[in-house]
């Protein structure tokens, strides 16, 4: 043992968060470790994997950091990790599995060798299959035949682990990497396992099929077969699967089969993505099927979307709707984990939940002077329904769209179709007026037009600038407050904002409020409440 590894290992053995953190920081810096040192450190760090850290999230995080550290040691410790893995307990096997999987391609063959060597050792098989579940590399599919053999093993826990691994690989390795033969075999194996005697196996089979389905790996025929089977599991034919976990799992995916005709009941809406268009990088315009919601939406209202079981509920504005076709249009900018999840959904996929219409209707009436609607980013779409409503009452409506540069100006043509006139502003002068949206307002005033109503939706600094400008001029100004929300129905108070010195719920009393009365400073600070957690959530999804 060298001096430096000795010092590190002593700190690791202290079972103290601070000491372990220090040890990790030290060894992360060392780039010239010898193979021997790596082995020593790997052995020491892996002791962290054997504790049950329930409720000690700090320690769990350190153990995960240790995983990454060990993974960096590369091939020289793979043998050690695999042999530890074969008799690790449930908790620690996950740590070993991830550390091994982090080696990517290089680790596939060694794990396959271990699989073949341990055919008779159920315990080792379970852990090895568990480790395969963490692989992300297309190369891993080489092991699929072995996995599918294991899916028919005698021991139900082995079967279950194999199906779990197959499901994870389907979810995390791009569907392009799967050839038709592999997919077919996976489907048949998992489908057969739906009638396994053991609930856990059936559960993992349903899960694997579900992942294949959501990744678009199945043929229409397979989907049909699976849809029927899942309906059976859920009790459509009167002999449902008696295990709750299996039904629960099946229920997650049935939305993907429900073509419009076969909806579960009259009021069921499948929130299918019908059209998708990229407006600028990371920002998409969507047409989504939501017939009942489309019927009731009014200008100014918004919806909440939860794209999947694991997502947050996030509020989104509406750009328009078609009551006859039963569709709604939204713009989604990938800001964090959940909005990104939406932008990744392809045409044909279904969003798990959409709730709405939420909030109060926009403040529209016939005005004497001109109405100006101002949009920045997704806000340009968000002002469209109100612009239409103002126009319908006979107002003169000017649209103003602002962005950093020309390529980020959104929805200008669409807005032109609604407003009497549309002005654009860019910070760099690549389109329209150079400067901010307030410069457009100034230009309108300068040419002698009276403005009687302003609606501004977009980034908070923009709404502040507009409100600050119109306040001394006494021009009625509404802004749409994008407070952080949870339920969006007035039930939790997450969206509290201060307006005119009073606390209001943005989702229930708003989202549009008098811009001259809003405490923007508080709003901005409250929006930053979860910054650290949002980063972590995003990292976890990747």
């Amino acid at each position: 043992m060298t001096e430096r590894t000795k010092a590190i290992i002593e700190q690791i053995n202290m079972d103290n968060e601070e000491a372990i953190g220090k040890a990790l920081a030290q060894s992360e810096k060392l780039t010239d470790l010898s193979a021997e040192e790596k082995a020593e450190l790997a052995a020491a760090y892996s002791t962290l994997f054997f504790h049950d850290y329930a409720g000690r999230s700090g320690m769990t995080r350190l153990a995960m950091r240790a995983e990454k550290q060990i993974a960096k040691f590369g091939a020289s410790v793979l043998g050690f990790l695999i042999s530890e893995l074969t008799d690790a307990d449930h908790e620690s096997s996950a740590h070993f599995g991830r550390a091994i999987a982090a080696n990517g391609k290089d680790a596939v063959q060694p794990v396959m060798d271990a699989l073949n060597k341990n055919r008779e050792n159920d315990f080792a098989m379970i852990n090895l299959l568990g480790a395969l579940a963490y692989f992300r590399d297309g190369e891993t599919l080489k092991a699929m035949p072995e996995i599918l053999v294991a899916a028919k093993a005698k021991n139900p826990q082995v079967r279950s682990a194999a199906l779990y691994a197959a499901g994870r690989l389907a979810r995390h390795i791009g569907s392009d990497a799967f050839d038709a033969g592999t997919t077919l075999k996976m489907f048949d194996t998992a489908f057969e396992a739906l009638t396994d005697r053991v609930p856990l196996v059936r559960y993992n089979a349903a899960r694997a099929l579900g992942k294949m389905l959501t990744k678009g790996m199945l043929t229409g025929e397979q989907e049909g077969k699976m849809g029927k089977k899942f309906d059976g599991i859920l009790g459509k034919e009167n002999n449902w699967d008696n295990a709750f976990i299996v039904r629960h799992e099946a229920a997650k995916y049935v939305q993907y089969f429900r073509q419009d005709g076969s909806a579960k009941n009259k009021y069921f809406q499948s929130f299918r993505v019908l059209q998708k268009r990229e407006l600028c990088p990371d920002t998409y315009y969507y047409t989504i099927q939501a017939p009942l919601i489309a019927k009731k939406l009014e200008a100014g209202q918004f919806i909440i979307i939860r794209p999947s079981e694991y997502s947050e509920r996030i509020p989104l504005s509406i750009c328009g709707w078609d009551r006859e076709k039963g569709t709604i249009n939204i713009i989604v900018a990938a800001a964090g984990r959940t909005s990104r999840e939406i932008t990744q959904m392809p045409v044909g996929a279904c969003l798990a939940d959409i709730v709405g219409p939420l909030g109060q209707k926009a403040h529209v009436k016939k005005h004497e002077g001109t109405c100006v609607v101002i949009g920045g980013g997704y806000g340009t779409g968000a002002v469209m329904p109100t612009a239409r409503a103002l126009k319908a009452l006979g107002n003169r409506v000017i649209g103003v769209v602002g962005a950093r540069n020309k390529s980020l100006l959104l929805m200008v043509d669409e807005l032109k179709g609604i407003c009497d006139e549309v002005m654009t502003t860019t910070n760099d002068g690549t389109d329209g007026i150079q400067g901010f949206v307030t410069h457009a307002l100034e230009a309108i005033l300068k040419r002698g037009e009276t403005i009687s109503h302003v609606l501004a939706i977009g980034p908070v600094p923009m709404m502040i600038a507009v409100s600050n400008m119109t306040k001394p001029l006494n021009i009625e100004t509404y802004v749409s407050l994008n407070a952080i929300m949870v339920d969006g129905t007035g039930m939790c108070g997450a969206c509290r904002v201060s307006v005119g010195g009073q606390t209001k719920f943005a989702c229930f009393h708003g989202p549009d409020f008098n811009g001259h009365e809003v405490d923007f400073d508080q709003l901005m600070k409250r929006q930053k409440m979860f910054v650290a957690q949002e980063k972590e959530a995003l990292a976890a999804a990747e």
Binding site: N242, Y267, V486, T489, C492, A494, R496, K525, R526, A537
Partner: protein, 497 residues
Amino acid sequence: MAELSTKERMAIKFVHMPLNKAELRIHNFEEVPVGYTLEQAKQEAQRCIQCKKPGCIEGCPVGIDIPAFIHLIEQGKVAEAAKKIRETNFLPAACGRVCPQDKQCQALCVVGKKAEPVGIGGLERFAADWEREHGTYILPEIPAATGKKVAVVGSGPAGLTAAYELRIRGHEVVVFEAFHRGGGVMVYGIPRFRLPLDIIDEDIHMLEKIGVQFVYDMIIGKVLTLDDLLVNEKFDAVFIASGAGLPKMLGIKGENSSGVYSANEYLTRIYLMQALKFPKYATPLYQGKRVAVIGAGNTAMDTLRTAKRLGADVTCYYRRTRAEAPARTEELEHAEQEFLNWKWLHNPVEIIADENNFVKAIKCEKMALSEPDSSGRRKPVGTGEFVVDDVDTIVFSLGCDVNPIIPSTDKEVRINKWGIVMVDQKTCQTSKPGVFAGGDAITGGSTVILAMGQAKNAAVGIDRYLKGELKWADANVPTDPNAPGVQWEGRFSAGKR
């Protein structure tokens, strides 16, 4: 087995419900009481002296035949016991866990006059769990369709119970729920260490099996209005069970600081949106190291214990003393075992934030109890002495007002000045023809079992209305905006078939 004499029964020792150790359970979200074993349940069941005039039934809001089911457990016929309970109570596994038995059945138990009352809640839970785990539940027969359709708004205990009671009378029932899953407060409020999720899910699946339809993500009042339901969708009646979901705050300075939550937000993030499994589930929770919980009711106990499980140093602030704390006794006791701090007679007056608007400290006035007033109640009064404690998270657990969505979108549904939906106490009819209401929406916040009791009453009312036996002209719906919500007096006798 020979029947035991009363004396022998009285001599048997009370079987304490085994609990998970406080030192361990504060690190996880597993259920705290682990439940009786068959042997323990049988022994506890033997303590019941099978009274001729049982007090317990009087104390039970839905009138479960308690001695009868306990006797069945004593004989080892647990499945039958569960069936017995189900005659009157549709959610026994949930009620066995969350009902305030100490204020209801167990408070009136005859044995309780001399010794510890019979552990009725624990036995109820035991029977229900047995039934679920052994799959002995038999779906009820559904009579021929009556051709009538009822819409139930909300899937909390009131909504689920009404759906069941109406379905077994042969009506078509559709439940509309605003959230993406059913259960109401049982899912988004009551913590997992008191009520595991699969229990509620199982009950909802049972309802689906007998043909109740569920529609999620559907806000009545917004997507479909009451008139849409009654006119366009041709429902013959609507039952509003939308609960009490509007969080109360104190209105003190600094309340909108980051890190200040209502209990609704805090618990919803954790339990409905599963922030307890963050980051696998994406919903975040900003949870500091020192958490202050304001209030001492059931909700406060749940918040306190949840925060503790998330690893914080947690303190309860309440402006009265422990004796006045409105929480269920068992909950208070379990909480007291869990290494929490208690600041009785502390009334928060201000929240102090740092320059980024994050909570830094809470300022409280120390209180004292006044001399009893004419009603015997001792009011907390300020002493003029203030303390400031460093905290980084504050959760207001002060209860809720009634969910305003439906009354705000349909003015024909009359509410009082606190927003509580006004109904005829007997039939649960509201001021709008065809519309009934029950649960927290008509009481302004009570309990699972009272919500269920009212739902049963309402189901009988709706059934009579559908048969043409109930006229709206006879409904006695208060018009005085100062009239209180429905208060429970005596048992909900209705609904026994």
